[in-house]
Symmetry: C2
Subunit: 583 residues, 2 copies
């Protein structure tokens, strides 16, 4: 296919759009790939649509390769199945809801677990039908609170979502492993720089869950990587290396002090140093103080449970980590009313002893292990205790991951320390289990003629988001830079010489490439200056540009690799040279 | 690609779905192509999705061939542009409306004129940018009052819609002609049996408008074709052949009669015959009587205008034709109140004379021409006039197409008579003009530096509907029957012989065809009887089925053409035979 810039529906812009903050958004709009229609809702112009479709096809090929079967569910869905799973309500404001002319409730599908599950129930009844992996590449809708960054977080977007159905947990492991390989193939083919991060499996319990994060400073997700080895994890999924237990015997007795000016952890430390307090024979550190965060944890259908969370004083609580650790229960900070209702909780001076005295559950950071000695609140205003030893003076009811992760924290065994990075979620694979097959009572006859509920895996790729991710990772200050596999056109031919022989030669090259099955973007605009053409070529970002320019008279053309080298090539050999690279 | 029935996500049904009335709906559900999710909302299962995508690709190829450029607009659209064109209101209950979390109004796009127009306005400013033809293949939403027949009239469906933008009417003619050719190529490639029907251009005035109708007894649209030549038209667009004027001189004077028992056209005719009344020297016919239909015609922003419509007594009024003839004005029957307010209108006896006396506009059927003589109402109860001559005794203010079309009516010159047929609209091409470019004030600089408003063409193909249309036109009582170009698989291989050599030979054929780039549906199910496999093959409807059956032991396999011949072929030659047909 030959596309001529003289007729292509395109207008490149020199100015960034006013609402754009991240490079991919600016460049995709300026280069005429996408166009805003409403917040988080975009049109795909011809160049953008070509890249989107090519990404879809890479995903489709890899899904087909693993034996997944493509189907397509509607986006307009009736309320009932989402009522059954309670997601009609749970999704909150993020769900687009509407009524039809008969006032029946509908929604625009944010994800399709319900439909996949119901369709399998509808068609299949015997273990012989399993395993099966189904997928769709489809437009989804989520009413994001803050749609941002163009198509990076849109309200209408394209996803590949797939679900595996297996009769056994071992089968699910296989389906999961197949997806993991396929996803790596997809992202490798696309040339994305990504990490596979361990993720929390949330409400579903302890089964496998990994996120594929494209590494990018504009990412919304923070994750950690090890300085050695290839450990990577969501911040929520990082497991703290537990502290080393110490002997309790011989540790000095706990002692209460009046600490009038020690209302913060820093002033407490200053006070302790002024008292020349030592821990383990060294001067006291912030990490020797212990703070107690009061929260309420609510399990579904139960009363909120007041709980104390013990954290070393050098760490903030990370509410996202705490929430992930509590799932499926929800967690919130204790309110003024809670403190008022429990006068033994002295704000700013809560310590483990009062909690134990009043049968309040205490969950401790994993660093709080037997034999560790702490400076903590004495449960009365302006008083702290020094030398409160875990396992002697207090006994946590369990541990919890609630503390922030810091750059330099130890990585899992032998992998050095952790670095903090930012990423954009491009894929998620996840052992979902029987939540939906149980909700819809999917009963399958097993080998022994007994009814059995299949287990599911859930897998997603953000297809339209990948367009932005590639723009984000691969741009420079001049414009976009697509990998050959998904560039709208692998090659861009520019006529920048007024001699009609140059135009004829360019036309010949373009025709020859087209005949060889290579799509060409051809800048044949007669009245546009070479400078503008070059700027546009860099902005549009095809991987290779052939220029019939000043030196065409000497029989020489330029082959420019976007973001790379420019090579002068004999005009007679240019077709062969391009075919050599792309053929 | 080889798809094995042992693993394909498919369950064929022997029973018709309870809600299905037309063959395509029954068969597409029974054969596992589609599955109902809600009224007019369907899932596409693997086989159905393959055919849908193949139809999309045929459409895409022909659109690209004419130089149209593909883009893709969102389905979720803000209210504002549709407010500007008043379609937010005009669309009535057929529009799905919703609100986002900030209570902003959105709609699900039923058609995208607004977005195409705004995007052209956004990007283009000079005549040099034109002409341009843009298209998308996209999911559309209409809240149909009576979604019916599965995907034949759905509420979520796939359309190809395109718009041409030209600086001149001559340019629009060219863009229109290009679409007409492309549409014929699409429907010819798909093997649809269709007619191109002249259509009314409705509110837009007299420019070209044609519908492509697939001929089918289950169609909702009635159209006419000529017995000779290839004239075809929507019933609304048929132009009545006008009557032959006759000399007025020498015709007997009009005479009033008391006609006590002649309250219907039939009893009036009986009375006239009992009086031995002759017209043009022959006994009176029903077509010599003239009835007067009282209606109110309302132009936008004006008062309703009481109007008399004169029709020969042998024809009913066709309200759809009348409505089309009045557009953009609307028309309704005169009410009891209207008759009461105008006592000179004697119900059942209204004639042209009273209307003329009271300055009521009179529009006549084109058969009512000067010199024709009529038996009609005398404007008083139980009285008629005989011999009221047009051009002498009354003078219509104009003509109007309001009479029904009948089988056998004369076709346009030299084309014999008209037959009435039923069809399903699969395409519409339409000179839209400047309605939208004016509404959005699209100003383009022309060759002389003056501002000019481009003119648009509007063109649509019902892509998902075509799946149903092909099923409707090509099925038999055993199942579906796809043309090679859009069959999910061109060939279906069935093993129906328990000898393992037969299975090995089938596997070899399937592998050879796959290697030659031919996709194969392969019935490898080990425990399914030959009879069930044959029934499924007919139901699923691949164009060719190869059977490794009873006679495989003799070295013979069967090549079955769906709905055609079965040929016995030497097993050694079957690959070559299939490649010969499909390669």
């Amino acid at each position: 296919m030959i596309t001529r810039l003289s007729t292509l529906f395109l207008r490149t812009l020199r100015e960034d759009p006013a609402d754009a903050e991240v490079p991919s958004h600016k460049l995709l709009v300026r280069a005429g790939y996408i166009r805003r229609v409403a917040p988080g809702v975009y049109s795909w112009l011809p160049l953008g649509l070509r890249t989107l479709k090519k990404i879809e096809n890479v995903v489709r090929e890899e899904m087909d390769r693993m034996g997944a079967q493509e189907l397509s569910f509607p986006a307009l869905l009736p309320r009932e199945p989402y009522q059954t799973t309670n997601r009609w309500t749970e999704y909150g404001d993020a769900l687009f809801r509407l009524k039809d002319r008969k006032s029946a409730d509908y929604l625009l599908g944010p994800t399709h677990e319900e439909l996949f599950t119901l369709t399998v129930k509808d068609l299949y009844s015997s273990y012989k039908d399993f395993p099966v992996i189904l997928y769709q590449i489809q437009t989804k809708y989520r009413d994001e609170e803050r749609p941002r960054a163009g198509i990076l977080r849109g309200r209408e977007f394209v996803m590949k979502d797939s679900y595996s159905f297996d009769m056994s947990d071992a089968g699910l492991d296989e389906s999961y492993a197949k997806h993991r390989v396929a996803y790596q193939r997809v992202f490798d083919r696309l040339g994305v720089n990504y990490a596979i991060c361990q993720a929390t499996s949330g409400a579903m319990g302890g089964s496998a869950s990994e996120e594929f994060l494209a590494i990018s400073p504009t990412g919304e997700d923070t994750f950690v990587r090890s300085t050695e080895g290839n450990y990577a994890a969501n911040v929520e999924a990082v497991v703290t290396q537990p502290g080393t237990p110490r002997p309790i015997d011989g540790q000095p007795e706990a002692q209460e002090y009046e600490t009038p000016d020690a209302e913060t952890m820093d002033t407490l430390l200053a006070w302790a140093r002024s008292q020349n307090i030592h821990v383990d024979g060294r001067p006291v550190e912030l990490s020797d103080t212990l703070k107690c965060l009061m929260v309420k944890i609510t399990e579904s259908g139960k009363e909120p449970q007041l709980t104390g969370i013990l954290l070393p004083g050098d760490r903030e609580a990370d509410m996202k980590r705490l929430e992930a650790a509590c799932e499926p229960a929800t967690v919130e900070l204790a309110s003024e009313e809670d403190f008022a209702a429990n006068p033994f909780l002295v704000k700013g001076y809560v310590g483990p002893r009062a909690l134990a005295d009043h049968d309040i559950t205490v969950l401790a950071d994993p660093r709080v292990v037997p034999g560790t000695s702490w400076i903590t609140g004495a449960d009365k205003k302006n008083h702290h205790i020094v030398g409160l030893v875990c396992g002697r003076d207090f006994q946590p009811d369990g541990t919890i991951e609630a503390a922030e992760i810091k750059e330099g924290d130890p990585a899992p065994e032998g992998m050095g320390t952790l670095t903090l990075e930012r990423g954009i979620e491009i894929g998620h694979i996840f052992q979902l289990g029987r939540k939906y097959t149980e909700a819809f009572d999917v009963q399958i006859l097993d080998e022994n003629g007994k009814r059995s509920v299949p287990t599911m895996g859930s897998y997603g790729i953000g297809v339209s988001r990948l367009v932005a991710v590639l723009a984000e990772q691969r741009h420079d200050d001049k414009g976009l830079n697509w990998p050959v596999e998904v560039a709208p056109y692998p090659v861009h031919v520019v006529v920048a010489n007024k001699d009609s022989a140059a135009t004829e030669a360019a036309e010949q090259l373009v025709a020859d490439l087209d005949a060889a099955g290579i799509d060409v973007l051809y800048d044949d605009r007669p009245k546009v200056s070479p400078g503008v053409k070059f700027k546009d070529a860099e902005l549009l970002g095809m991987p290779y540009t052939v220029v019939f320019g000043r030196r065409y008279g000497d029989g020489v053309v330029e082959l420019r690799e976007r973001g790379g080298e420019t090579t002068e090539i004999s005009a007679a050999e240019i077709t062969a040279a391009v075919l050599d690279i792309l053929g």
